[in-house]
């Protein structure tokens, strides 16, 4: 008796759900027909945009800059967009789950802000053809997925020029994160820039193999300074290298947002330069 009633309850629930969906579907179809004659829809649905971050918003670096970009979108487009984000999404199968979730929740524009989301995003893009995917610093795309990046190599070249002129020991140090094409490009640009003004320089590169690990970045910076580098360049995500450089009276350059609070406190003649390569990655094109 119990089994029979359970089954009939489930059947009833399923029928109700289908009926409700059909009603809703019918309702939705009527709206566009009514609106089509109008010149422009006065109240279009706001565009739902979602961001997947690899690190914490509070990292003071890459993810922080992306989140500032997101807030810039909200400020610029106001009511026409609704943004959301998920932070600390690891670059693994978990990323696929999160991004798939975002797509199913009605987000029509999804930003994946790190190289490691490339494969998961490709998979999700294949399943959600009506959603647009923007992937940072990658090299694979699809019909509905494109790659975006900022011309960080230009900023890196300028940083190299400054470093080449500032260095007295002719040894430059780079604290690098993970060897993906974009990072290698930045390091090479930096070196080329420095060589263009000072052919004698040598660049020492140390790989931390993580985007974000402040104690390890500090150790890497210390070992570079101990090895004779007097200007540092960082490609990792936190402000640890900047702090270490300052503690030792060295100069450090990084790409990223302005750090008004981190004033130079080294000996006169050395300072910190925050380059204007601010990551305005938040501009949704044609949204």
């Amino acid at each position: 008796m119990t089994d029979f009633s359970k089954r009939s309850v489930i059947k009833l629930a399923a029928l109700t759900a289908i009926a409700a969906a059909a009603l809703v579907g019918c309702g939705k179809k009527e709206e566009p027909k009514a609106e089509a004659p109008a010149a422009a829809p006065a109240k279009a649905e706001p565009l739902k945009i979602a961001f997947a971050y690899v690190g914490p918003v509070g990292d003071g670096g890459w993810t922080f800059a992306h989140d500032n970009g997101r807030k810039a979108i909200e400020k610029e487009f106001g009511d026409k967009v609704v943004t959301s984000f998920v932070e600390k999404v690891p670059e693994s199968a978990d990323a696929e789950r999160v991004i798939r979730d975002m797509a199913s929740q009605g987000n029509k524009l999804i930003f994946g802000t790190t190289f490691g989301y490339m494969e998961p995003m490709l998979k999700v893009a294949a399943d959600f053809k009506d959603v647009k995917f923007e992937h940072a610093t990658g090299y694979k795309g699809a019909e509905n997925m494109r790659t975006y990046d900022s011309r960080t190599y230009e900023g890196a070249y300028m940083a190299g020029v400054i470093a080449g002129k500032m260095t007295k020991s002719n040894t430059l140090g780079v604290v690098a994160s993970i060897p993906i094409p974009e990072v290698i490009r930045n390091i090479n640009s930096f070196t080329l820039g420095a060589q263009s003004v000072n052919p004698k320089i040598k660049t020492k590169v140390v790989w931390v193999n993580e985007w974000f690990n402040p104690p390890k970045e500090t150790e890497a910076a210390t070992s570079l300074i101990n090895g004779g580098a007097d200007v540092l360049f960082q490609n990792t995500d936190s402000s640890a290298v900047l702090q270490t450089a300052e503690k030792n009276g060295q100069a450090c350059l990084r790409l990223g947002q302005r750090h008004d609070r981190l004033r130079p406190q080294g000996p006169p003649g050395l300072g910190h330069h925050q380059l204007g390569a601010v990551l305005r990655s938040g501009r949704a094109r044609g949204a």
Binding site: P56, G58, D59, G60, F64, G173, P179, K204, V205, V206, W207, V208, N209, F212, N213, P214, P215, K216, E217, T218, E219, A220, T222, S223, L224, N226, G227, G228, A229, S238, S239, A240, Q243, T244, K247, H259, R261, L262, R263, Q265
Partner: protein
Amino acid sequence: METYALLFAATLNAGTVLAIAALGLLINEKAGVVNLGAEGMMLCAAIAGFAAVVHTGNDWIGFAAGMGAGALLAAVFGLLVIWLGTNQYATGLALSLFGVGFSAFAGIGYVQEKLPERPQFAIPGLADLPLLGNALFKQHPIVYLTIALCIGLIVWLGRTRTGLVLRAVGESPESAHALGYPVRRIRLAAVVAGGALCGLAGAYISVIYTPLWVEGMVAGKGWIALALTTFATWRPARVLLGAYLFGGVTMLQFHLQGVGVEVPSEALSALPYVATIVVLALISRNPTWIRVNMPASLGRAFHPGS
């Protein structure tokens, strides 16, 4: 040669964080309680210490705040585990997760804050020695305190009555209870002391080692300290050795990368872990030795009257 002196100095600095945390956990585990919440405690202490220094400008108040935060969390853990008898491993993990999240939340306003300029330390006279000066005598006082702490622990655990009582509680709480010692209160004291030391390590990271705050900045050092205590078979001298070895090989692998050694950087990144495990396992490979050194009641709850 100068580079090696600087490398040695960096090793001492890098190993100090692990050493303090691991010695604190050692006190915990000698009393028979495993506190897996090291990472959470260190993170909460890091934000507490950082915030204290931002508001007062005094490093020592920062360290005290860190120790206080660590002790407080450890006390909560201790009450749950010792009096309510919850599973030590699960509770410790819960504490760790809580600490990670809470510190991130509490630290939201401090991300772009900066501390006043960090002082440089040097022991007058000794710091001017040609190589040894750079290698040994230009460290923050806490580095020297760590070595003193280790020596103090060896003496206290091995040669004093109170140290003996602590070890007894860890080996056989039933016997200690039969002798009339307040086993649960002693365990709580050990847990709180261990938490305070983990807190000191956390505060050291955010105030001296990497003077900034970003969430998750301890980046796994709490877990490494936990493993270190076990691999060092609960002997303070070996804990110190393991901590300095880990810190030293970390600095060495960066130095090797900088010099241009043709080994993939990923392999070099794994080197500290491999080296520490191999060395400590070799030192302690006698199984009887391990059994003798491990506190017999580690991880087991104690109920008087049962």
